[in-house]
Symmetry: C2
Amino acid sequence: MYYLGVFFGGFTIEAGVVSENGEILLKGVIPTLKYRTFDTIIQDMAQLCKKVVSNAELDLEKDIQYIGIGSLGMADNEKGVISYSSFFNFYNKEIRREMKKYFDLPVFVENDANCIALAESLLGASKNYHNSVLITLNYVIEAGIIINNKLYRGAFSGAGEVGHQVIVFEGEQCSCGRYGCWEAYASANALVRDARIQAIRHPESEMFKMINGDIRVMSYKVPFEAAKIGDKWAIDLINLYIRYLATGLINIMNILQPQAIVLGGRISEEGDFLLEPLKEMISKKFYGDHTLLKTDIRLAELGEDAAIIGAAMIGKKDLLIN
Amino acid sequence: MYYLGVFFGGFTIEAGVVSENGEILLKGVIPTLKYRTFDTIIQDMAQLCKKVVSNAELDLEKDIQYIGIGSLGMADNEKGVISYSSFFNFYNKEIRREMKKYFDLPVFVENDANCIALAESLLGASKNYHNSVLITLNYVIEAGIIINNKLYRGAFSGAGEVGHQVIVFEGEQCSCGRYGCWEAYASANALVRDARIQAIRHPESEMFKMINGDIRVMSYKVPFEAAKIGDKWAIDLINLYIRYLATGLINIMNILQPQAIVLGGRISEEGDFLLEPLKEMISKKFYGDHTLLKTDIRLAELGEDAAIIGAAMIGKKDLLIN
């Protein structure tokens, strides 16, 4: 028996046929093109699903047990909806009902970071830990919490909104409407904002040269690249970024004390250049030096496949709390 | 069969004989007198335990199944130690070994807020919720996390250190050594500090009159009392205090999304005068207004007995995660 795992992302929709043990047999990808109507996007998602099943030479009815969808934003599996996504501007989008137009299969929906957390916990960076938190550092920050090898989704399916913990009281406005959220300081979007300011202030910086003085093309990679070649202004910026990142991570450690924190998402691709100073910062600042840092901080291992694999697993009740 | 539940607090040590269903048969209290040696304090604790058992006309060996101790600070039941308490200045104090000098019974040790959370979840304000967080607002801020009716203690027995989530990046120094912790803004200690500053700045305030201009005698109750009789400066201060309090609570909601948050500790004794504006603030600011506030925010119900009752329950493995 196989499962269809679907990642409903901001830029791509990916679908894969996944085996019982989490192996992807075959996968496919299409662009999300978010400005289309919801019905049209889901129609394309359904076609993609059918295509990967037929390309894998499987039979939808005989071989596929269910469809699991890992989506950006807050998902409510009980209602079968994406309850909210600021990126898509979605409110209570009935994704199960839409998918049911094309499939006579159970359809599950879950937040994408929760799916990634489940996949990394089963097969990836956190497979040797029973309590862990997976954090995706992208244009937004999301997380999935694993307790006793199961996904903890909270009372209303929205746990793990770690990006919306306030770390700067009444600070920068966040995309969620509140002020001072971690996401407004430690996401790729926040880093781009701060890098633009730093580049404008310091036209002598490598960052400014790398973008030819056009701050519109600034990306979160520029300050990392400039810091790697020794640009003072970029180094300062990355150091501040790491302080922001560490602050939110330490908060999560103090609240949940997981065995491991796993960093995923685009920014985690900076690898050891990010991880080593981050671990040092956390170790020094962790709970006022009184206890040694016991929580392992690691990089995610499954890359882009994690969302598909995790989505394919979310119909398994024994992997979920509640 | 009965259990001995002990609360090891900063000012008092309380012990009670507790029944299977969490009823306190008889309890006793002694002052902690924290500046004595650890051995001496535990000797007194043991004597108190023996006294309540004999006063209850029970036999230590026949009637008491185990001793559970709920202590200030971080407790590590695996090692049987209080691993850290800034208030006591304790590091790895071997409380089980000390107590074993006086009793041939199993001895369990747990953080006091975790015990209170367990008690409120079994018999008090959170008994109708399977996921909840109990927060004690005292001179420090602690918490206990209940998931599926069980106490979640984290990987290293220190989960629930919610007081040490940073809400003001690089802000006021906290007793833990870090900067900007919630405890440094929303604890009774923080409120006293801010009330002193406000009273000095505004000698025309009721707060200043209430303490006869002597800021040494300021207590966390003064700004509440002054606000209740309409003192503008106290009202401003309490409003700011509620903003700090709300910020940390919303962070916990966004990360854990419990069904209920229960407020205990001295500051929660302000009751609806605190709770109503707090709930309104949280409802308005919760996740940018996009979702309705679903987490119930309630006051603790068991008062000072909660720590004794919860401590008496911590030897029951089916009430604990891990």
